[in-house]
Amino acid sequence: MGAAYLKLTGLVKSYDGRTNAVDGIDLDVARGEFVTLLGPSGSGKTTTLMMIAGFEEPTRGSIELDGEDLGRRKPYERNIGVVFQSYALFPHMTVAKNVAFPLRMRRFPAARQASRVREILDLVELGSFADKYPRELSGGQQQRVALARGLVFNPDVLLLDEPLGALDKSLREQMQVELKRIHREVGVTMLYVTHDQTEAMTMSDRIAVFNGGALEQVAPPLEVYHRPRTRFVGEFIGDSNFFSGRRDGERPGLVLLDGIGAHRVARAAWDEIAGSTVDVLIRPERIQLAGEGDEARLPNRVSMKVGVIVNYGDSVLVIGETDGHPLRMRIAGAQPDAIREGATVTVGWGPADAHLIRRD
Protein backbone atom coordinates (compact mmCIF):
# COMPACT_ATOMS: atom_id res chain seq x y z
CA MET A 1 0.00 0.00 0.00
CA GLY A 2 1.27 3.44 -0.92
CA ALA A 3 1.10 6.61 1.13
CA ALA A 4 -2.24 7.33 2.73
CA TYR A 5 -4.50 9.49 0.57
CA LEU A 6 -7.53 9.46 2.82
CA LYS A 7 -6.52 9.15 6.45
CA LEU A 8 -8.92 8.64 9.37
CA THR A 9 -7.31 9.05 12.76
CA GLY A 10 -8.96 8.21 16.08
CA LEU A 11 -12.38 8.95 14.63
CA VAL A 12 -15.19 8.96 17.20
CA LYS A 13 -18.85 9.87 16.82
CA SER A 14 -21.41 9.95 19.59
CA TYR A 15 -24.94 11.06 18.76
CA ASP A 16 -26.25 11.06 22.30
CA GLY A 17 -23.12 11.86 24.32
CA ARG A 18 -23.26 8.49 26.08
CA THR A 19 -22.60 5.74 23.54
CA ASN A 20 -20.22 5.90 20.59
CA ALA A 21 -21.72 4.98 17.22
CA VAL A 22 -18.16 5.13 15.87
CA ASP A 23 -15.60 4.32 18.49
CA GLY A 24 -12.06 5.24 17.53
CA ILE A 25 -11.33 4.34 13.93
CA ASP A 26 -7.92 4.51 12.25
CA LEU A 27 -7.92 3.83 8.54
CA ASP A 28 -5.54 4.70 5.72
CA VAL A 29 -6.80 4.49 2.15
CA ALA A 30 -4.42 4.75 -0.81
CA ARG A 31 -5.22 6.82 -3.90
CA GLY A 32 -7.31 4.80 -6.34
CA GLU A 33 -7.99 2.05 -3.85
CA PHE A 34 -11.35 0.26 -3.50
CA VAL A 35 -11.93 -0.25 0.20
CA THR A 36 -15.08 -1.90 1.53
CA LEU A 37 -16.48 -1.13 4.96
CA LEU A 38 -18.11 -4.38 5.97
CA GLY A 39 -20.01 -5.08 9.15
CA PRO A 40 -23.38 -5.90 10.64
CA SER A 41 -26.17 -3.34 10.64
CA GLY A 42 -25.64 -0.66 13.29
CA SER A 43 -21.87 -1.10 13.44
CA GLY A 44 -21.15 2.49 12.42
CA LYS A 45 -20.39 2.20 8.70
CA THR A 46 -22.86 4.84 7.54
CA THR A 47 -21.87 7.18 10.34
CA THR A 48 -18.23 6.89 9.22
CA LEU A 49 -19.18 7.75 5.63
CA MET A 50 -21.33 10.67 6.77
CA MET A 51 -18.38 12.12 8.66
CA ILE A 52 -16.10 11.77 5.63
CA ALA A 53 -18.72 13.46 3.45
CA GLY A 54 -19.14 16.20 6.05
CA PHE A 55 -22.78 15.60 6.97
CA GLU A 56 -21.93 14.60 10.53
CA GLU A 57 -19.30 16.26 12.66
CA PRO A 58 -16.81 13.93 14.35
CA THR A 59 -16.94 14.01 18.13
CA ARG A 60 -13.17 13.40 18.15
CA GLY A 61 -10.46 12.53 15.69
CA SER A 62 -9.51 13.81 12.27
CA ILE A 63 -10.10 13.16 8.60
CA GLU A 64 -7.31 14.08 6.20
CA LEU A 65 -7.44 14.03 2.42
CA ASP A 66 -4.18 14.29 0.56
CA GLY A 67 -2.51 15.74 3.61
CA GLU A 68 -5.18 18.37 4.27
CA ASP A 69 -7.48 18.33 7.29
CA LEU A 70 -11.09 18.22 6.06
CA GLY A 71 -12.50 19.23 9.44
CA ARG A 72 -13.22 22.84 8.54
CA ARG A 73 -14.71 22.17 5.14
CA LYS A 74 -18.45 22.09 4.56
CA PRO A 75 -19.81 19.13 2.55
CA TYR A 76 -20.14 21.33 -0.55
CA GLU A 77 -16.52 22.38 -0.29
CA ARG A 78 -15.13 18.84 -0.13
CA ASN A 79 -15.19 17.43 -3.66
CA ILE A 80 -16.42 14.07 -2.44
CA GLY A 81 -19.12 12.16 -4.31
CA VAL A 82 -21.80 10.19 -2.48
CA VAL A 83 -24.09 7.42 -3.72
CA PHE A 84 -26.98 6.39 -1.48
CA GLN A 85 -28.92 3.16 -1.22
CA SER A 86 -32.14 5.09 -1.86
CA TYR A 87 -30.55 6.61 -5.02
CA ALA A 88 -31.57 10.12 -3.90
CA LEU A 89 -32.11 11.28 -7.47
CA PHE A 90 -33.80 14.66 -7.88
CA PRO A 91 -37.31 13.63 -8.99
CA HIS A 92 -38.06 16.89 -10.80
CA MET A 93 -34.99 16.70 -13.05
CA THR A 94 -34.28 14.52 -16.04
CA VAL A 95 -31.39 12.08 -16.01
CA ALA A 96 -29.19 14.59 -17.85
CA LYS A 97 -30.16 17.41 -15.44
CA ASN A 98 -29.44 15.18 -12.44
CA VAL A 99 -26.01 14.31 -13.76
CA ALA A 100 -25.29 17.90 -14.80
CA PHE A 101 -26.22 19.24 -11.36
CA PRO A 102 -22.73 19.06 -9.81
CA LEU A 103 -21.30 20.76 -12.91
CA ARG A 104 -23.98 23.45 -12.77
CA MET A 105 -23.14 24.12 -9.11
CA ARG A 106 -19.50 24.43 -10.14
CA ARG A 107 -20.45 26.87 -12.89
CA PHE A 108 -19.06 24.85 -15.78
CA PRO A 109 -19.79 26.40 -19.20
CA ALA A 110 -22.92 24.87 -20.74
CA ALA A 111 -21.08 23.25 -23.63
CA ARG A 112 -18.63 21.51 -21.34
CA GLN A 113 -21.47 20.40 -19.07
CA ALA A 114 -23.24 18.79 -22.00
CA SER A 115 -20.20 16.96 -23.34
CA ARG A 116 -19.14 15.77 -19.88
CA VAL A 117 -22.67 14.53 -19.11
CA ARG A 118 -22.74 12.59 -22.38
CA GLU A 119 -19.36 11.09 -21.63
CA ILE A 120 -20.30 9.95 -18.12
CA LEU A 121 -23.72 8.63 -19.21
CA ASP A 122 -21.92 6.52 -21.81
CA LEU A 123 -19.62 5.22 -19.09
CA VAL A 124 -22.62 3.94 -17.11
CA GLU A 125 -24.31 2.82 -20.34
CA LEU A 126 -27.30 5.14 -20.03
CA GLY A 127 -26.57 7.28 -23.08
CA SER A 128 -30.08 6.90 -24.48
CA PHE A 129 -31.86 7.77 -21.22
CA ALA A 130 -30.73 11.38 -20.90
CA ASP A 131 -34.22 12.87 -21.24
CA LYS A 132 -36.07 10.42 -19.04
CA TYR A 133 -37.18 11.20 -15.50
CA PRO A 134 -35.91 9.03 -12.62
CA ARG A 135 -39.40 7.56 -12.06
CA GLU A 136 -39.31 6.15 -15.61
CA LEU A 137 -36.22 4.06 -14.85
CA SER A 138 -35.72 0.70 -13.13
CA GLY A 139 -33.89 0.49 -9.81
CA GLY A 140 -30.65 -0.59 -11.45
CA GLN A 141 -30.80 2.24 -13.97
CA GLN A 142 -31.54 4.78 -11.24
CA GLN A 143 -28.50 3.61 -9.33
CA ARG A 144 -26.37 4.07 -12.44
CA VAL A 145 -27.63 7.64 -12.70
CA ALA A 146 -26.71 8.22 -9.07
CA LEU A 147 -23.30 6.77 -9.80
CA ALA A 148 -22.89 9.05 -12.81
CA ARG A 149 -23.89 12.07 -10.73
CA GLY A 150 -21.35 11.07 -8.08
CA LEU A 151 -18.57 10.67 -10.62
CA VAL A 152 -19.25 13.47 -13.09
CA PHE A 153 -17.23 16.13 -11.27
CA ASN A 154 -14.15 13.91 -10.85
CA PRO A 155 -14.41 13.69 -7.06
CA ASP A 156 -11.33 12.95 -4.96
CA VAL A 157 -13.22 10.13 -3.28
CA LEU A 158 -16.50 8.39 -4.08
CA LEU A 159 -18.49 7.15 -1.09
CA LEU A 160 -21.11 4.47 -1.69
CA ASP A 161 -23.53 3.48 1.09
CA GLU A 162 -24.98 0.05 0.31
CA PRO A 163 -25.68 1.16 -3.26
CA LEU A 164 -26.91 -2.26 -4.36
CA GLY A 165 -28.91 -3.02 -1.22
CA ALA A 166 -32.28 -2.36 -2.85
CA LEU A 167 -31.66 -4.48 -5.96
CA ASP A 168 -32.50 -8.14 -6.42
CA LYS A 169 -29.78 -10.76 -6.45
CA SER A 170 -29.02 -11.21 -10.14
CA LEU A 171 -29.07 -7.47 -10.81
CA ARG A 172 -26.83 -6.97 -7.80
CA GLU A 173 -24.23 -9.36 -9.17
CA GLN A 174 -24.36 -7.68 -12.55
CA MET A 175 -23.91 -4.26 -10.95
CA GLN A 176 -20.95 -5.53 -8.90
CA VAL A 177 -19.14 -6.37 -12.12
CA GLU A 178 -20.15 -3.00 -13.58
CA LEU A 179 -18.88 -1.12 -10.55
CA LYS A 180 -15.54 -2.89 -10.72
CA ARG A 181 -15.23 -2.03 -14.40
CA ILE A 182 -16.05 1.61 -13.71
CA HIS A 183 -13.55 1.69 -10.86
CA ARG A 184 -10.88 0.32 -13.18
CA GLU A 185 -11.70 2.80 -15.94
CA VAL A 186 -12.02 5.89 -13.77
CA GLY A 187 -9.47 4.99 -11.11
CA VAL A 188 -11.24 7.02 -8.44
CA THR A 189 -10.72 6.17 -4.76
CA MET A 190 -13.82 4.35 -3.57
CA LEU A 191 -15.15 3.69 -0.10
CA TYR A 192 -17.92 1.16 -0.34
CA VAL A 193 -20.27 0.25 2.52
CA THR A 194 -22.02 -3.10 2.59
CA HIS A 195 -23.18 -5.74 5.02
CA ASP A 196 -22.97 -8.38 2.28
CA GLN A 197 -19.75 -10.36 2.69
CA THR A 198 -19.84 -11.83 -0.83
CA GLU A 199 -19.99 -8.34 -2.26
CA ALA A 200 -17.03 -7.33 -0.11
CA MET A 201 -15.03 -10.43 -1.11
CA THR A 202 -15.55 -10.01 -4.85
CA MET A 203 -15.06 -6.27 -5.22
CA SER A 204 -12.53 -4.95 -2.76
CA ASP A 205 -8.83 -4.26 -2.77
CA ARG A 206 -9.14 -4.30 0.99
CA ILE A 207 -11.92 -4.94 3.46
CA ALA A 208 -12.33 -3.01 6.70
CA VAL A 209 -14.44 -5.11 9.08
CA PHE A 210 -16.60 -3.08 11.48
CA ASN A 211 -17.99 -4.34 14.74
CA GLY A 212 -19.70 -2.16 17.33
CA GLY A 213 -18.19 1.05 15.95
CA ALA A 214 -14.61 -0.24 15.89
CA LEU A 215 -12.45 -1.86 13.23
CA GLU A 216 -11.68 -5.53 13.78
CA GLN A 217 -9.39 -5.98 10.78
CA VAL A 218 -8.33 -4.18 7.63
CA ALA A 219 -6.83 -6.47 5.00
CA PRO A 220 -7.21 -7.83 1.47
CA PRO A 221 -10.22 -10.15 1.03
CA LEU A 222 -8.31 -13.44 0.98
CA GLU A 223 -6.34 -12.52 4.05
CA VAL A 224 -9.53 -11.58 5.88
CA TYR A 225 -10.98 -14.91 4.81
CA HIS A 226 -8.03 -17.16 5.57
CA ARG A 227 -6.38 -15.28 8.38
CA PRO A 228 -9.10 -13.45 10.34
CA ARG A 229 -7.62 -11.51 13.21
CA THR A 230 -10.57 -12.11 15.53
CA ARG A 231 -13.22 -14.74 15.99
CA PHE A 232 -15.86 -12.16 15.02
CA VAL A 233 -14.24 -11.66 11.63
CA GLY A 234 -13.93 -15.40 11.04
CA GLU A 235 -17.59 -15.93 11.87
CA PHE A 236 -18.88 -12.90 9.97
CA ILE A 237 -17.06 -13.66 6.75
CA GLY A 238 -17.65 -17.02 5.17
CA ASP A 239 -18.86 -20.24 6.72
CA SER A 240 -16.87 -21.38 9.74
CA ASN A 241 -16.19 -23.98 12.42
CA PHE A 242 -14.77 -22.54 15.61
CA PHE A 243 -13.29 -24.50 18.49
CA SER A 244 -11.80 -23.08 21.61
CA GLY A 245 -8.69 -24.65 23.02
CA ARG A 246 -5.35 -24.34 24.74
CA ARG A 247 -1.89 -24.50 23.32
CA ASP A 248 -0.06 -27.55 24.66
CA GLY A 249 3.10 -25.91 25.98
CA GLU A 250 4.90 -29.25 26.34
CA ARG A 251 4.35 -30.58 22.84
CA PRO A 252 5.15 -28.16 20.00
CA GLY A 253 2.55 -28.21 17.23
CA LEU A 254 -0.25 -29.50 19.42
CA VAL A 255 -3.37 -27.69 20.56
CA LEU A 256 -5.88 -29.21 22.98
CA LEU A 257 -9.37 -28.52 21.66
CA ASP A 258 -12.30 -28.53 24.08
CA GLY A 259 -14.32 -31.67 23.43
CA ILE A 260 -11.99 -32.98 20.74
CA GLY A 261 -8.63 -33.39 22.35
CA ALA A 262 -5.13 -33.15 20.91
CA HIS A 263 -5.06 -31.46 17.55
CA ARG A 264 -2.08 -30.98 15.26
CA VAL A 265 -1.49 -27.55 13.72
CA ALA A 266 1.28 -26.03 11.64
CA ARG A 267 4.39 -25.46 13.69
CA ALA A 268 4.82 -21.85 12.60
CA ALA A 269 1.27 -21.01 13.64
CA TRP A 270 1.84 -22.74 16.97
CA ASP A 271 4.97 -20.69 17.55
CA GLU A 272 3.12 -17.47 16.82
CA ILE A 273 0.50 -18.11 19.44
CA ALA A 274 2.25 -17.07 22.60
CA GLY A 275 -0.70 -17.10 24.99
CA SER A 276 -2.26 -20.29 26.13
CA THR A 277 -5.92 -19.96 25.07
CA VAL A 278 -6.80 -19.94 21.38
CA ASP A 279 -9.75 -19.98 19.02
CA VAL A 280 -9.25 -22.43 16.19
CA LEU A 281 -10.96 -21.80 12.86
CA ILE A 282 -11.42 -24.57 10.33
CA ARG A 283 -13.29 -23.56 7.18
CA PRO A 284 -15.92 -26.15 6.15
CA GLU A 285 -14.29 -26.67 2.74
CA ARG A 286 -11.05 -27.74 4.47
CA ILE A 287 -12.72 -30.69 6.14
CA GLN A 288 -12.80 -33.93 4.13
CA LEU A 289 -13.92 -37.50 4.43
CA ALA A 290 -11.00 -39.46 5.94
CA GLY A 291 -10.18 -43.05 5.09
CA GLU A 292 -7.57 -45.73 5.84
CA GLY A 293 -4.04 -44.75 4.99
CA ASP A 294 -4.33 -40.97 4.87
CA GLU A 295 -3.45 -40.39 8.55
CA ALA A 296 -0.30 -38.57 7.51
CA ARG A 297 -2.22 -36.14 5.33
CA LEU A 298 -5.19 -35.74 7.69
CA PRO A 299 -3.79 -36.26 11.19
CA ASN A 300 -6.74 -34.53 12.81
CA ARG A 301 -9.83 -36.66 12.64
CA VAL A 302 -13.16 -36.89 14.36
CA SER A 303 -16.29 -38.91 13.83
CA MET A 304 -19.13 -36.77 12.55
CA LYS A 305 -22.79 -37.54 12.94
CA VAL A 306 -24.52 -36.24 9.82
CA GLY A 307 -27.58 -34.07 10.49
CA VAL A 308 -28.72 -31.99 7.53
CA ILE A 309 -27.42 -32.23 3.97
CA VAL A 310 -27.74 -29.20 1.68
CA ASN A 311 -26.94 -30.09 -1.90
CA TYR A 312 -26.04 -27.07 -4.04
CA GLY A 313 -25.35 -29.13 -7.14
CA ASP A 314 -21.76 -27.98 -7.49
CA SER A 315 -21.06 -28.70 -3.82
CA VAL A 316 -22.61 -30.31 -0.76
CA LEU A 317 -22.86 -28.70 2.66
CA VAL A 318 -22.98 -31.27 5.45
CA ILE A 319 -24.18 -30.02 8.81
CA GLY A 320 -23.64 -32.33 11.74
CA GLU A 321 -21.90 -32.66 15.06
CA THR A 322 -19.00 -34.28 16.77
CA ASP A 323 -19.35 -34.96 20.48
CA GLY A 324 -22.09 -32.34 20.75
CA HIS A 325 -19.97 -29.71 19.00
CA PRO A 326 -21.56 -28.48 15.75
CA LEU A 327 -19.52 -29.20 12.63
CA ARG A 328 -19.97 -28.03 9.05
CA MET A 329 -18.23 -29.65 6.10
CA ARG A 330 -18.39 -28.59 2.48
CA ILE A 331 -17.53 -31.11 -0.20
CA ALA A 332 -16.92 -29.96 -3.76
CA GLY A 333 -18.70 -31.86 -6.53
CA ALA A 334 -21.36 -34.51 -6.14
CA GLN A 335 -22.67 -35.97 -2.89
CA PRO A 336 -20.52 -39.01 -1.84
CA ASP A 337 -22.37 -42.27 -1.10
CA ALA A 338 -21.17 -42.34 2.50
CA ILE A 339 -22.93 -39.07 3.28
CA ARG A 340 -26.46 -39.87 4.34
CA GLU A 341 -28.64 -38.23 6.96
CA GLY A 342 -28.09 -39.98 10.30
CA ALA A 343 -24.88 -41.70 9.19
CA THR A 344 -21.66 -41.41 11.17
CA VAL A 345 -18.55 -40.75 9.12
CA THR A 346 -14.90 -40.11 9.87
CA VAL A 347 -13.76 -36.69 8.73
CA GLY A 348 -10.39 -35.02 9.01
CA TRP A 349 -8.19 -32.08 8.15
CA GLY A 350 -4.51 -31.29 7.90
CA PRO A 351 -2.32 -29.23 10.23
CA ALA A 352 -2.27 -26.33 7.77
CA ASP A 353 -6.08 -26.21 7.55
CA ALA A 354 -6.49 -24.73 11.01
CA HIS A 355 -6.15 -21.00 11.63
CA LEU A 356 -5.26 -20.04 15.19
CA ILE A 357 -6.52 -16.86 16.81
CA ARG A 358 -5.04 -15.86 20.09
CA ARG A 359 -7.60 -15.06 22.72
CA ASP A 360 -7.07 -12.35 25.29
Binding site: P75, Y76, F90, H92, M105, R135
Partner: protein, 256 residues
Protein backbone atom coordinates in the same frame (compact mmCIF):
# COMPACT_ATOMS: atom_id res chain seq x y z
CA UNK B 1 -71.36 -5.75 -0.52
CA UNK B 2 -72.78 -3.88 2.48
CA UNK B 3 -69.79 -1.55 2.26
CA UNK B 4 -70.63 -0.69 -1.32
CA UNK B 5 -74.26 0.01 -0.45
CA UNK B 6 -73.28 2.23 2.48
CA UNK B 7 -70.77 4.05 0.31
CA UNK B 8 -73.40 4.68 -2.36
CA UNK B 9 -75.89 5.99 0.18
CA UNK B 10 -73.30 8.31 1.69
CA UNK B 11 -72.28 9.52 -1.76
CA UNK B 12 -75.93 10.19 -2.58
CA UNK B 13 -76.36 12.28 0.55
CA UNK B 14 -73.26 14.25 -0.33
CA UNK B 15 -74.22 14.81 -3.93
CA UNK B 16 -77.99 15.28 -3.52
CA UNK B 17 -77.81 18.98 -2.47
CA UNK B 18 -75.76 19.72 -5.59
CA UNK B 19 -78.29 17.89 -7.76
CA UNK B 20 -81.00 20.15 -6.39
CA UNK B 21 -79.10 23.43 -6.23
CA UNK B 22 -77.67 23.35 -9.75
CA UNK B 23 -81.07 23.05 -11.54
CA UNK B 24 -82.52 25.68 -9.20
CA UNK B 25 -79.86 28.18 -10.27
CA UNK B 26 -81.31 28.08 -13.78
CA UNK B 27 -84.88 28.30 -12.47
CA UNK B 28 -87.45 30.93 -13.48
CA UNK B 29 -89.16 30.80 -10.07
CA UNK B 30 -89.03 34.00 -8.01
CA UNK B 31 -88.24 32.04 -4.87
CA UNK B 32 -86.93 28.58 -4.04
CA UNK B 33 -88.99 25.93 -5.77
CA UNK B 34 -88.14 22.38 -6.78
CA UNK B 35 -88.48 21.08 -9.41
CA UNK B 36 -88.12 24.41 -11.27
CA UNK B 37 -91.16 25.54 -13.29
CA UNK B 38 -88.91 26.65 -16.19
CA UNK B 39 -85.32 27.51 -17.04
CA UNK B 40 -83.48 30.74 -17.84
CA UNK B 41 -80.18 32.51 -17.09
CA UNK B 42 -81.76 35.55 -15.42
CA UNK B 43 -80.30 35.00 -11.99
CA UNK B 44 -76.80 34.52 -13.45
CA UNK B 45 -77.23 37.88 -15.15
CA UNK B 46 -78.26 39.38 -11.84
CA UNK B 47 -75.21 37.94 -10.10
CA UNK B 48 -72.73 39.22 -12.65
CA UNK B 49 -74.20 42.67 -13.31
CA UNK B 50 -74.56 44.26 -9.87
CA UNK B 51 -72.17 45.06 -7.03
CA UNK B 52 -74.58 43.46 -4.57
CA UNK B 53 -73.01 40.01 -5.15
CA UNK B 54 -69.77 40.81 -6.91
CA UNK B 55 -68.45 42.88 -4.02
CA UNK B 56 -68.70 40.10 -1.41
CA UNK B 57 -67.21 37.74 -3.99
CA UNK B 58 -64.22 40.03 -4.41
CA UNK B 59 -63.96 40.42 -0.61
CA UNK B 60 -63.91 36.65 -0.24
CA UNK B 61 -61.18 36.22 -2.83
CA UNK B 62 -59.00 38.96 -1.36
CA UNK B 63 -59.46 37.68 2.18
CA UNK B 64 -58.84 34.05 1.19
CA UNK B 65 -55.64 35.02 -0.65
CA UNK B 66 -54.45 37.09 2.29
CA UNK B 67 -55.33 34.35 4.76
CA UNK B 68 -53.51 31.79 2.63
CA UNK B 69 -50.40 33.97 2.60
CA UNK B 70 -50.57 34.40 6.37
CA UNK B 71 -51.16 30.70 6.96
CA UNK B 72 -48.23 29.67 4.78
CA UNK B 73 -45.93 32.25 6.35
CA UNK B 74 -46.73 30.74 9.75
CA UNK B 75 -46.90 27.09 8.80
CA UNK B 76 -43.91 26.56 6.49
CA UNK B 77 -41.23 27.60 9.00
CA UNK B 78 -43.15 25.93 11.85
CA UNK B 79 -43.31 22.65 9.90
CA UNK B 80 -39.58 22.66 9.14
CA UNK B 81 -38.80 23.34 12.78
CA UNK B 82 -41.27 20.76 13.99
CA UNK B 83 -40.20 17.93 11.68
CA UNK B 84 -36.45 18.51 11.57
CA UNK B 85 -35.51 19.44 15.11
CA UNK B 86 -35.84 17.88 18.48
CA UNK B 87 -36.72 20.28 21.27
CA UNK B 88 -38.39 20.32 24.66
CA UNK B 89 -42.15 20.74 24.75
CA UNK B 90 -42.60 19.47 21.22
CA UNK B 91 -45.89 17.71 21.87
CA UNK B 92 -47.22 20.81 23.60
CA UNK B 93 -46.35 22.88 20.54
CA UNK B 94 -48.20 20.36 18.40
CA UNK B 95 -51.25 20.66 20.64
CA UNK B 96 -51.12 24.44 20.45
CA UNK B 97 -50.93 24.43 16.66
CA UNK B 98 -53.85 22.01 16.41
CA UNK B 99 -56.03 23.99 18.87
CA UNK B 100 -58.02 25.96 16.24
CA UNK B 101 -59.25 22.62 14.93
CA UNK B 102 -60.97 21.61 18.16
CA UNK B 103 -62.21 24.97 19.40
CA UNK B 104 -65.81 25.47 18.15
CA UNK B 105 -65.95 28.23 15.55
CA UNK B 106 -68.55 30.17 17.55
CA UNK B 107 -66.13 30.35 20.45
CA UNK B 108 -63.29 31.46 18.17
CA UNK B 109 -65.63 33.97 16.56
CA UNK B 110 -66.51 35.51 19.90
CA UNK B 111 -62.86 35.64 20.92
CA UNK B 112 -61.83 37.27 17.65
CA UNK B 113 -64.66 39.76 17.97
CA UNK B 114 -63.33 40.93 21.31
CA UNK B 115 -59.69 40.82 20.26
CA UNK B 116 -60.13 42.61 16.94
CA UNK B 117 -62.37 45.26 18.55
CA UNK B 118 -59.43 46.41 20.66
CA UNK B 119 -57.30 46.72 17.54
CA UNK B 120 -60.20 48.44 15.73
CA UNK B 121 -59.99 45.77 13.05
CA UNK B 122 -63.59 44.53 13.10
CA UNK B 123 -65.24 45.02 9.73
CA UNK B 124 -61.90 45.29 7.92
CA UNK B 125 -60.29 42.91 5.43
CA UNK B 126 -57.18 42.66 7.60
CA UNK B 127 -59.21 41.53 10.59
CA UNK B 128 -60.86 38.70 8.71
CA UNK B 129 -57.52 37.76 7.12
CA UNK B 130 -55.92 37.42 10.55
CA UNK B 131 -58.76 35.28 11.88
CA UNK B 132 -59.04 33.06 8.80
CA UNK B 133 -55.27 32.79 8.49
CA UNK B 134 -54.97 31.41 12.00
CA UNK B 135 -58.00 29.14 11.65
CA UNK B 136 -56.41 27.41 8.63
CA UNK B 137 -53.11 26.74 10.42
CA UNK B 138 -53.92 23.19 11.66
CA UNK B 139 -55.02 21.95 8.22
CA UNK B 140 -52.03 23.36 6.40
CA UNK B 141 -49.71 22.18 9.19
CA UNK B 142 -51.02 18.61 8.87
CA UNK B 143 -50.52 18.57 5.11
CA UNK B 144 -47.10 20.19 5.10
CA UNK B 145 -45.57 18.24 8.00
CA UNK B 146 -46.75 15.04 6.30
CA UNK B 147 -45.02 16.13 3.09
CA UNK B 148 -41.87 17.03 5.01
CA UNK B 149 -41.79 13.72 6.86
CA UNK B 150 -41.90 11.91 3.54
CA UNK B 151 -39.02 13.98 2.19
CA UNK B 152 -35.80 11.97 1.78
CA UNK B 153 -33.10 14.10 3.37
CA UNK B 154 -30.50 12.24 1.35
CA UNK B 155 -31.72 14.42 -1.55
CA UNK B 156 -30.28 17.42 0.29
CA UNK B 157 -27.12 15.50 1.11
CA UNK B 158 -26.74 14.51 -2.53
CA UNK B 159 -27.15 18.15 -3.52
CA UNK B 160 -24.58 19.33 -0.99
CA UNK B 161 -22.02 16.74 -1.97
CA UNK B 162 -22.62 17.92 -5.53
CA UNK B 163 -21.35 21.31 -4.46
CA UNK B 164 -24.63 23.11 -3.65
CA UNK B 165 -24.55 25.41 -0.62
CA UNK B 166 -27.54 25.71 1.75
CA UNK B 167 -29.42 28.26 -0.36
CA UNK B 168 -28.83 26.48 -3.66
CA UNK B 169 -29.86 23.20 -2.04
CA UNK B 170 -33.09 24.76 -0.78
CA UNK B 171 -34.08 26.42 -4.04
CA UNK B 172 -32.90 23.75 -6.49
CA UNK B 173 -33.92 20.65 -4.54
CA UNK B 174 -35.90 21.05 -1.30
CA UNK B 175 -38.48 23.55 -2.52
CA UNK B 176 -39.22 21.99 -5.94
CA UNK B 177 -39.62 18.55 -4.40
CA UNK B 178 -41.92 19.85 -1.66
CA UNK B 179 -43.91 22.14 -3.98
CA UNK B 180 -46.87 19.80 -4.65
CA UNK B 181 -47.44 19.30 -0.91
CA UNK B 182 -47.10 23.03 -0.28
CA UNK B 183 -49.64 23.78 -3.01
CA UNK B 184 -52.14 21.37 -1.48
CA UNK B 185 -51.58 22.98 1.93
CA UNK B 186 -52.15 26.43 0.41
CA UNK B 187 -55.26 25.25 -1.43
CA UNK B 188 -56.72 23.90 1.82
CA UNK B 189 -56.00 27.19 3.52
CA UNK B 190 -57.64 29.11 0.69
CA UNK B 191 -60.77 26.94 0.66
CA UNK B 192 -61.04 26.97 4.45
CA UNK B 193 -61.18 30.78 4.38
CA UNK B 194 -63.40 30.93 1.30
CA UNK B 195 -66.00 28.62 2.90
CA UNK B 196 -65.86 30.03 6.42
CA UNK B 197 -69.14 31.59 7.57
CA UNK B 198 -69.40 31.71 11.35
CA UNK B 199 -66.35 33.82 12.17
CA UNK B 200 -67.02 36.05 9.17
CA UNK B 201 -70.58 36.69 10.41
CA UNK B 202 -69.18 38.00 13.69
CA UNK B 203 -66.29 40.13 12.50
CA UNK B 204 -66.63 40.95 8.78
CA UNK B 205 -69.26 43.64 9.31
CA UNK B 206 -70.38 45.67 6.27
CA UNK B 207 -66.94 46.60 4.99
CA UNK B 208 -65.50 43.14 4.56
CA UNK B 209 -68.63 41.03 4.10
CA UNK B 210 -67.67 37.72 2.54
CA UNK B 211 -69.74 35.60 0.20
CA UNK B 212 -70.90 33.09 2.84
CA UNK B 213 -71.94 36.00 5.10
CA UNK B 214 -73.86 37.66 2.30
CA UNK B 215 -75.54 34.36 1.41
CA UNK B 216 -76.63 33.83 4.99
CA UNK B 217 -78.09 37.29 5.24
CA UNK B 218 -79.77 37.02 1.88
CA UNK B 219 -81.47 33.73 2.72
CA UNK B 220 -82.74 35.12 6.01
CA UNK B 221 -84.13 38.30 4.53
CA UNK B 222 -85.29 37.58 1.02
CA UNK B 223 -84.82 33.94 -0.15
CA UNK B 224 -83.19 35.31 -3.30
CA UNK B 225 -82.62 32.49 -5.85
CA UNK B 226 -79.28 34.14 -6.75
CA UNK B 227 -77.98 32.07 -3.83
CA UNK B 228 -78.44 28.97 -5.97
CA UNK B 229 -76.28 30.64 -8.62
CA UNK B 230 -73.59 31.46 -6.06
CA UNK B 231 -73.69 27.92 -4.69
CA UNK B 232 -73.32 26.46 -8.15
CA UNK B 233 -70.39 28.74 -8.91
CA UNK B 234 -68.76 27.84 -5.58
CA UNK B 235 -69.12 24.12 -6.14
CA UNK B 236 -67.69 24.48 -9.63
CA UNK B 237 -64.75 26.54 -8.41
CA UNK B 238 -63.91 24.13 -5.61
CA UNK B 239 -64.22 21.15 -7.94
CA UNK B 240 -61.87 22.76 -10.46
CA UNK B 241 -59.43 23.68 -7.69
CA UNK B 242 -59.32 20.14 -6.32
CA UNK B 243 -59.04 18.68 -9.80
CA UNK B 244 -56.14 20.96 -10.70
CA UNK B 245 -54.28 20.10 -7.50
CA UNK B 246 -54.82 16.38 -8.00
CA UNK B 247 -53.57 16.64 -11.58
CA UNK B 248 -50.58 18.75 -10.55
CA UNK B 249 -49.66 16.24 -7.86
CA UNK B 250 -50.02 13.34 -10.25
CA UNK B 251 -47.81 15.03 -12.82
CA UNK B 252 -45.08 16.08 -10.39
CA UNK B 253 -44.82 12.93 -8.30
CA UNK B 254 -45.16 10.61 -11.27
CA UNK B 255 -46.99 7.38 -11.90
CA UNK B 256 -44.49 5.39 -9.78
Amino acid sequence: MLVVVVALVVALFLVAPILIVVPMSFSTAISFQFPPPGYWLGYYVRYFTGTEWLEPTLNSVVIALGATGLTMALVVPASFGYVRFRFRGKSFVNLLIMAPLVVPHVVSALAYYGFLARLRLNGTHLGVIVAHGVLAVPLAFLVITATLKGFDRNLERAAMSSGAGPLATFFHVTLPVLRPGMLVGALFAFLSSFNEAVVALFIAGRGAATLPKKMYESIRLESDPVIAVVSTLLVTTVAIGVLVSVLARGRESGAA
